[in-house]
Symmetry: C2
Subunit: 136 residues, 2 copies
């Protein structure tokens, strides 16, 4: 697929699943995954064929479970918006009642932080490990 440069610059590669590329948002304030179907010219969920829609759902569920297991959030936020970057990407975000944006959505919240190199390496490796268990 062609990855929109705005998605590429604002996130880091984790792994490729059957349908989606998994990327971690560079915003270190939230455990925040992007699922991006590895297909060109898709902007809406309903642009995907039905079998791919089901794969997307399964990869959302897998990602939700991984975030829940790793980070014990109080709530998950799952969203396909795409008002700024039309290439289909699904946000799966671990939220806490004590996070700085709560209870607002994270987009446009102004709550943002860059990961330290060490924290980013740790988180990516944690996520790679978690996905690899399910990919076996």
């Amino acid at each position: 697929m062609n990855l929109d440069p705005r998605l590429e610059e604002s996130s880091v590669f984790v792994t490729d699943l059957e349908l989606c590329q998994v990327r971690l948002s560079s915003n270190g304030k939230f455990p925040w995954i992007l699922l991006i179907p590895r297909l060109d010219d898709i902007t809406e969920i309903i642009d995907l064929e039905e079998a791919s829609q089901i794969l997307l759902l399964q990869e959302i569920a897998l990602t939700s479970q991984i975030l829940k297991d790793l980070f014990a959030p109080h709530k998950l936020n799952v969203a396909a918006l795409g008002n700024v970057v039309p290439q289909l990407h699904v946000h799966v975000i671990a939220r806490y009642t004590h996070d700085e944006a709560w209870p607002n959505p994270v987009w446009n919240s102004g709550v943002s932080e860059t990961y330290s190199e060490e924290a980013l390496d740790k988180r990516i490796s944690q996520l790679k490990d978690a996905y690899s268990v399910y990919k076996r």
Copy 2:
């Protein structure tokens, strides 16, 4: 199901699908549907059994198609957030590049308007008709 009073007060009944109750948001600024699984004690998509998750996906796709057909939006926004009202509800919203919140998400945008009685009746009846075609 027990419907959270905050969902009940901020939206109007449209129809019941196999899994979800379909409601129209009372915010007349956007064609904005809520899909609420008719089950108790569900807050996350992954709280649903796998078959119900697939039904939810199908009802999201159906709703997306209906909003696309009726309102010709530039973009659909699909989201399960639930930070304020935990009962699982999926937003499916028709967005336009000229709507007052664009390109921001609608939540906390401050962009809100009450439907006139006539406009609400018309929209509900339009939606009921559209869903009834698919339910046949």
